[in-house]
């Protein structure tokens, strides 16, 4: 610690007096330090949330300023939960969620496992692999539409190069069966590094001594993998799944730029559907109810999951 003129002045002043004059009690400081953050969060997060809940019981529409707002009770909720199209978007979201997480966990773990072999230059390559996840998802989604163009895009040519298929013979974002995979591929490209990093942290947290002990017991490498590596990495993997799960449940930017929800409604994820209701049809009351349902779903799923995660951690 260096000393500055202020330090010397501070030292010259008797401690107790200084505290009385310029110091505030810890309790006051604590509040001064925390209050602005809480205030901002209340204003920008909680107040709007309460407003949303209130609006969800009305038929308010932003684009009809001249209409009176009416209370409609639970009608909005009932309409949403009985709407087949909404359930279809939930299905699309589930497909997206399950496959992106599965692929990212498999590839991410395998990559981390390889990088943990500590070959020369592994740090450099790790940094390079991480680039995609730092980019703007909207810009990435936009550019993937270009990569997926059948006649002019890179993706079809790469696939054609490896499989011998006709690059103009299939359209990743135009075909009903391929489009759900087109968004899975783009998201996996972008976010596999994320899972990889967390797995790598898990792998590196395992002390060498455990393996050494296992080696003394003549446990096979395969056995070591299943009895040491996997259980020790599992909490990390679950954490990665939690973060990816929350993020992809919210998914909007990448997919809206990539497919716009099409063809038909095959890739209309819940967030995209909500955006249409709220900001294109301007059905504010209805979409508020929609938003509340999504909140509850995310929180519900996340808290159940966190409980499971804690159990695994405690084991």
């Amino acid at each position: 610690m260096t000393t500055s003129p202020i330090d010397r002045v501070a030292r010259a002043t008797p401690a107790a007096a200084a505290r009385r004059i310029r110091g505030l009690s810890d309790r006051t400081i604590a509040w001064i330090f925390v209050a602005p953050s809480i205030f901002l969060l209340l204003a920008v997060n909680i107040f709007p949330l309460i407003w949303t809940i209130r609006l969800s019981f009305t038929d308010f529409r932003v684009n009809r300023p001249n209409n009176d707002m009416e209370w409609v009770g639970l009608r909005n909720y009932q309409r949403i939960l009985t709407d087949d199209d909404v359930w279809q978007t939930m299905q699309a979201t589930a497909h997206f969620l399950i496959w992106t997480i599965l692929l990212q966990v498999l590839i991410g773990f395998f990559l981390a496992f390889l990088i943990n072999k500590k070959f020369r230059g592994n740090d450099l390559w790790t940094t390079i692999i991480v680039f995609p996840m730092m980019l703007s998802p909207a810009v990435v989604g936009n550019f993937w539409t270009f990569l997926y163009q059948p006649q002019i895009g890179l993706f079809n040519y790469v696939v054609a190069f490896f499989t011998g298929a006709d690059p103009a013979g299939f359209s990743m974002i135009g075909d009903v069966h391929l489009a759900p995979w087109a968004i899975v591929i783009a998201d996996t490209w972008m976010w596999t590094p994320f899972v990889m990093l967390i797995c790598l942290a898990g792998l590196r947290s395992i002390p060498d001594s455990i393996y050494e002990a296992a080696e003394c017991d003549r446990a096979s490498k395969l056995r070591q993998f299943f009895t040491i590596t996997m259980p020790m990495v599992l909490p990390f993997l679950m954490l990665a799944v939690l973060f990816r799960g929350i993020e992809n449940f919210k998914m909007f930017d990448l997919v809206v730029q990539l497919t716009g929800g099409g063809p038909g409604n095959t890739t209309t994820l819940t967030s995209i559907d909500l955006k249409r209701e709220a900001f294109e049809k301007w059905r504010t009351g209805y979409s508020s109810a929609y938003a509340v349902i999504l909140f509850v779903t995310v929180f519900g799923l996340a808290s159940i999951y966190v409980k499971a995660l804690n159990k695994v951690k405690d084991r």
Binding site: V62, R64, N66, A168, V176, T259, G262, W282, R283
Partner: protein, 443 residues
């Protein structure tokens, strides 16, 4: 004609300057005009330099690309924003603009300044300016006439070997199609064909999902096979009109065209993608709004006589084409309405309208399009006139966005994703639309 008019324009602009009220009191204002970002917008910047010189006001422009145009601008209007003083808003916004008080009513202003809607092409007045439709209440001045038409590769059509082959296959010469069925034959004929070493395809048509693309495309088939928006005698009665047998046939036709004659991957295409495909030589035909034609004519690859133009061909129930285009309105939230009105006054002058056409803007003023030299002034001028005579527009209700989203949804699901049948798609559309009108209290 252009040169003579151009000479007149300079004189006209000078005279306009003398009569401008704001120039007289020297009160200069910064005006912002909002429109879509496309070729005509650039032409408008060029045109507006006259106004700046004449009035002393400064013009700023906010141009938003088509896929985001409606989203952004309706957001702006709905939030009472003051970004735009002048709005060249899409034709379907007129109902919402009028009923929700976004646009200033222009009747008194027109009367005071001797502007009459009788001077404009009737279809554009109905389409861009009136609300409710068919009544003399004006919320905009027709600014840019536009309509869906077709562009074709004249140079390919003229190849003797292709003509011979087409003649032997279809028993008629390879020429501009008279009906939609003939158009599909031509698209099928070119689909997958090898021309100068590259594989080309039939037609680029509108299939876009996110904004209004597929609706603006599919209606060109629906209208001509007998689709009606509502019972002509009973407003908002849809069943049997939206989903009539003719409408079903029209929708099936559009799907068959998509399946048989469009480039692979053209599942989410609108104006821009169609232009790209056409200019890069991928397709023989392109469906697009007329605004692209000056650009096609000037293109080094496909311009200069290599391309021809024709209006949307007829179907069993008649010949119609989807209306595009916009009127210019004064935004009621603007605190510079006087200067904005001045702009409209300046813009409505025949000399300015003539120069507008000269620069690539489709004037809706009769004096311009009925000029004897107009039809031959550009290769596409006659096609534009023919097309403007057969236009129909989508709903312009305040709830147009809801109606459009439902249509986008149902049409894309059937035509592109192949879900269900055409009958089911239109039946569901009737349900969706009925629900919207019920919510609106119109049913």
């Amino acid at each position: 004609m252009n040169r003579i008019l151009l000479a007149g324009v300079a004189g006209g602009a000078l005279m306009a300057a003398a009569t401008m009220p704001a120039a007289a009191d020297g009160h200069a204002t910064d005006l912002t005009l909002c429109w879509a970002a496309w070729d005509p917008a650039n032409a408008l910047i060029e045109l507006s330099k006259d106004f700046e010189a004449a009035s002393g006001h400064t013009m700023n422009f906010e141009f938003v690309p088509w896929p985001n145009f409606a989203d952004r601008m309706l957001n702006e209007l709905n939030s009472g924003g003051q970004l735009c003083d002048l709005m060249i808003g899409d034709s379907q916004w007129i109902g919402g603009g009028a009923e929700n008080g976004h646009y200033v009513k222009l009747n008194d202003f027109f009367d005071a300044n001797g502007i009459t809607m009788d001077d404009f092409i009737p279809a554009t007045v109905t389409g861009y300016a009136e609300w409710p439709k068919g009544t003399p209440n004006y919320y905009a001045l027709p600014a840019f006439g536009d309509v869906v038409g077709w562009t074709y590769r004249k140079d390919w059509f003229e190849r003797p070997e292709l003509q011979a082959e087409f003649q032997s296959t279809y028993g008629r010469p390879l020429d501009v199609p008279a009906t939609l069925e003939e158009l599909r034959d031509i698209a099928t004929f070119f689909q997958g064909r090898d021309i100068d070493g590259t594989t080309v395809y039939g037609a680029a048509i509108y299939t876009e999902r996110g904004s209004e693309g597929i609706t603006m495309g599919v209606t060109n088939a629906l209208y001509n096979y007998g689709f009606l928006y509502e019972d002509p005698d009973q407003p908002y009665v849809l069943d049997g009109f939206v989903n009539s047998a003719g409408a079903v046939a029209g929708l099936e036709f559009y799907k068959s065209l998509y399946d048989a004659g469009t480039p692979p991957g053209s599942s989410n295409w609108y104006m821009g993608e169609n232009i790209d495909a056409y200019k890069s030589g991928q397709v023989a035909l392109q469906m697009n709004f007329a605004f692209i034609w000056p650009g096609v004519e000037a293109d080094p690859n496909v311009g200069g006589g290599k391309s021809g133009y024709f209006p949307n061909p007829a179907g069993p129930a008649g010949q119609f084409a989807q209306l595009g285009g916009q009127g210019i309105s004064v935004v009621s939230y603007s605190d510079k309405q006087d200067a904005a009105l001045e702009y409209i006054q300046w813009f409505a002058q025949p000399e300015i309208q003539a120069k507008w056409w000269e620069l690539g803007g489709y004037s809706a003023l009769k004096a311009v399009v009925e000029d004897p030299g107009f039809a031959t002034s550009q290769p596409y001028a006659q096609t534009f006139l023919d097309s403007m005579a057969i236009v129909k527009d989508f709903w312009a209700e305040p709830a147009y966005a809801d109606l459009l989203i439902a249509m986008q949804d149902r049409m894309h699901a059937y035509v592109i994703a192949g879900e269900g049948t055409a009958q089911e798609a239109l039946d569901k559309l009737v349900e969706d639309w009925t629900e919207v009108f019920e919510d609106e209290g119109k049913l």
